[in-house]
């Protein structure tokens, strides 16, 4: 089924979220929508999927007018949308999750579920997308990638001809991303048309036939993937050539003889991290590579005192440091940017200012000083380039990249000696990434020690001065220099 949209427009208040977007999803192909955060990708996809109604513009399905008035209506017309957020309810079974939208269809008259029949149908849906998950599996034990696949199975169970995926891989690690890409491939071979939004150009190049580029809500153009270079895509997304300049240059020779900022000696935390010894020096960015659960998150939780050390010892600036709770860590000059921006990084309903000064509110005597807080915020907003209409604007009005800059600003507000970054650019567009990298490098050159944990390999290679690979809670390899190190050199140690 071919889905054609012409001249779609959508406005939210004063913001033009999508402007004159035209897109053609050809039957049986995969079509990627790319652009920076705030470019209008999700808005476009949601208009196609009936969640949002375009202010103007036309859509047709196989030539017939298509104007869905809800996501359900779109589903009835053969277009199903999978949202970015994972909406699996872990207290239900896999089958119940897949058929959550129309449980009534699978129930006897009084509402008792036909469990066997449902399980069989659910299994069929899972098999159809080519994932090896049993409907009887314990849903608590599934990883995010598997949950995402269940969501896709849910969408597929309505037998759509067109499937729309919104940032389906945003929170997944490598293996999980591969699983989702495999599912897309599988569905394409069954003649299903797929439209998807992604931040990762590598995924787009690997999976898509066509791509549409959006920038600041404006339609830039549609291209065949085979006919366009990665560099060119970047240039069109951002408006300039960024591939070369994404990562700021490293200082000529890393600070091998600088004093140690943090030394970990045989540290073990929880079940994930078994025994790790490492040393971060002042002015150095130490990368931590590893799959999810390999121990980087546990290490961070241990350092900031969010979880107790099972054994081992930490030294901060050469002095013994026993992390008791996050408060103590901040007081010791350790700032922490957590991996889950919305739930751990910042309070989205609070203003930019409230979040920026949260770790160390400025005071005069016993009172909070709004004047100093304002001055502090504006310095940080300027330093990091946070795009906000005012310091008093609520964070929820910012794009993902700018929210992340607020979290980074909160960390820098305390002038830390050690900065822990957990996937600092997850869900962040290319432009904001560059600014985050620039600040990291700048602060490192001023003597800040940074521990960078990331699932983004090019980022780890581009930003780290040294790199440590973790696998199943232990350190398996150390790279003292990352010049001429390729992605696969690192990945081979991770799995």
């Amino acid at each position: 089924m071919t889905l054609v949209a012409t001249g779609l427009n959508k406005q939210f208040g004063p913001t033009r979220a999508a402007s004159n977007v035209s897109i053609t999803l050809r039957t049986g192909t995969v079509h990627a929508i790319v652009g920076e955060n705030g470019a209008g990708k999700s808005t476009t996809l949601r208009m196609l999927g009936g969640v949002l109604r375009p202010d103007s513009g036309e859509m047709t399905l196989d030539g017939a007018p298509y104007a869905p008035n809800s996501a359900l209506d779109a589903t009835h017309k053969g277009v199903a949308l999978v949202h970015q957020e994972i909406t699996i309810n872990r207290s239900l079974t896999i089958a119940e999750n897949i058929f959550i939208g129309d449980l009534r269809v699978h129930a006897w008259p009084l509402g008792v579920l036909k469990r066997k029949q449902m399980a069989a149908l659910a299994q069929a849906a899972l098999d159809r997308i080519g994932v090896k998950i049993s409907v009887n599996a314990n849903i608590e034990r599934l990883n995010l990638g598997e949950l995402k696949c269940i969501e896709i199975a849910r969408a597929i169970s309505s037998n759509p001809k067109t499937l729309l995926l919104d940032e389906s891989t945003a929170y997944l690690d490598h293996r999980e991303v591969d699983a989702v890409l495999h599912v897309m491939h599988q569905l394409k071979s069954q003649g299903i048309t797929i439209g998807f939004v992604s931040h990762h150009l590598s995924e787009v190049l690997a999976a898509a036939d066509d791509l549409t580029i959006l920038k600041d809500g404006q339609f830039v153009g549609s291209y065949g993937v085979a006919s366009i270079e990665a560099n060119e895509i970047h240039r069109l997304m951002v408006g300039r050539d960024v591939l070369q300049g994404t990562y700021p240059p490293r200082p000529p020779r890393p600070v091998s003889d600088a004093a140690s900022a943090l030394r970990a000696d045989k540290v073990a935390v929880g079940r994930e991290l078994n025994d790790i010894s490492l040393d971060v020096r002042r002015g150095e960015i130490l990368g931590l590579a590893g799959l999810k659960g390999a121990g980087a998150e546990a290490l961070f939780a241990g350092i900031v005192g969010d979880e107790p050390l099972r054994h081992g010892a930490l030294q901060l600036d050469g002095k013994s440091y026993k992390p008791s709770n996050p408060r103590a860590a901040w007081q010791h000059g350790i700032a922490h940017l957590p991996g889950d921006r919305g739930n751990e990084g910042l309070i989205v309903s609070f203003s930019v200012l409230d979040n920026l000064v949260m770790a160390r509110p400025p005071t005069i005597g016993p009172f909070f000083s709004m004047a100093r807080a304002r001055a502090m915020s504006w310095n940080l907003i300027k330093l990091i380039g946070i795009r906000t209409s005012s310091a008093a604007a609520p964070c929820r009005s910012l794009s993902g990249g700018n929210m992340q800059k607020v979290v980074l600003g909160k960390c820098l507000a305390v002038s830390p000696a050690l900065l822990l970054l957990n996937n600092p650019t997850r869900g962040v567009d290319v432009g904001a990434r560059e600014e985050i990298y620039r600040i990291m490098r700048q602060k490192a050159s001023e003597g800040l020690a940074i521990l960078l944990s990331s699932e983004d390999m090019p980022e780890l290679i581009g930003m780290s001065d040294r790199l440590v690979v973790l696998r199943q809670g232990v350190m398996v390899r150390e790279f003292d220099s990352l010049t001429d190190v390729e992605e696969h050199d690192i990945v081979q140690y991770m799995t």
């Binding site: 913001t15 808005t43 900031v304 969010d306 996050p326 901040w330 794009s399």
Partner: protein, 333 residues
């Protein structure tokens, strides 16, 4: 996902203050809502009974409302942090009893043990929540029964009278035509307002309500703040108990019964959502006025006493229905 709603480039950051003053009209209306609602009530009741706006009536209404005000001030902190306390009525009863038992030896200074015991009751609630990790609703439901049980146990159900003249003169007397209790209540409101708006503690309470996990990871000692806010509420209940005891000249096991519901209602009608993260003392003061005037206005206007509860409930729901900002509180449960 939030698509960007802002357009300013980092270089073009205009003068901040001007921008910050820009508030949408709906927000202004919402902020002004409790006040508008209060004015409507006053107009309606004045039409029903012209005596409503007389000085003596207002003076007695404020006097009556002070116990609720003092309690609701403390409740504002709790609700801003996303917790709840339904033991406040019982703490008020305990404090009134302590005041009644000590007033003959301590006189005016009976306020010290009353507030101390109130703070202790609050501290216990806070410990249950912060260290025992018992949800505040259940924890305070339990302590409500315990605290009121204590009063029953020690009084055997009989009232303990308060007839110390010095005590009564100070806590239920009138100076320059204004009840002393009202002045105490307003002074405490000023302090509470300053705490919310100008202290780090006030910001931390709000932050916990906005996102507890974020607060913990940002280095706020959440347990300490939680215990402190319950101590604060307990102490305020101590004052409320004292004032109520002075008004009725006795401590009884029935004192403060149902006060928790009025206090929660006053806070919520004043615009502080039960989900936490937001809140204002001024709003709470307006909420207290609304609830107090509603009762007294209906009495004066000759509304059938058996009908009054129904009207009160409907008015409260209507007020909250119109007032809450559904965008800001996200999930409503």
């Amino acid at each position: 996902m939030n698509e960007a709603l802002t357009t300013n480039a980092p270089g073009s950051t205009a003068p901040p203050r001007q921008d910050e003053l820009r508030v949408s009209r709906i927000d202004l209306l919402r902020r002004g809502f409790p006040l508008i609602f209060l004015l409507i009530l006053i107009v309606v009741f004045t039409i029903m009974s012209p005596r409503f706006l007389s000085l003596e009536n207002l003076s007695s209404v404020f006097d009556e409302g002070t116990v609720l005000l003092v309690t609701a001030l403390g409740m504002t902190f709790i609700i801003m942090a996303g917790s709840i306390d339904i033991s406040v009525g019982a703490i008020v009863a305990v404090s009134a009893l302590v005041a009644a038992l000590t007033v003959n030896t301590l006189g005016v200074l009976a306020i010290i043990p009353a507030v101390a015991v109130g703070a202790l009751c609050g501290c216990f609630n806070g410990l249950l929540l912060a260290l025992g990790k018992v949800p505040s609703f259940i924890a305070t439901l339990g302590t409500m029964v315990v605290y009121r049980g204590l009063v029953l146990y020690f009084t055997r159900g009989a009232p303990v009278s308060i007839d110390n003249d010095g005590f009564l003169n100070v806590y239920s007397g009138i100076t320059f035509g204004i009840p002393n209790s009202v002045m105490i209540g307003l002074a405490l409101a000023a302090v509470a307002w300053a705490i919310v708006n100008f202290t780090v503690f006030g910001r931390e309470v709000r932050a916990i309500g906005g996102g507890e996990r974020v607060s913990i990871l940002t280095g706020i000692s959440v347990a300490r703040v939680k215990i402190l806010m319950y101590v604060l509420l307990g102490a305020l209940c101590g004052v409320a108990g004292l004032l109520q005891g002075a008004r009725t000249m006795a401590a009884t096991s029935q004192l403060g019964l149902g006060l928790e519901l009025d206090a929660i209602a006053a806070v919520v009608v004043g615009g502080t959502p039960l989900t936490g993260g937001l809140g204002s003392i001024i709003g709470t003061m307006l909420g207290v006025l609304i609830i107090t005037l509603l009762s007294s206005g209906m009495n004066m206007g000759g509304v059938d006493p058996y009908l009054q509860n129904i009207i009160k409930g409907v008015v409260l729901i209507t007020a909250v229905f119109i007032n809450i900002d559904r965008k800001k509180i996200g999930i409503i449960k």
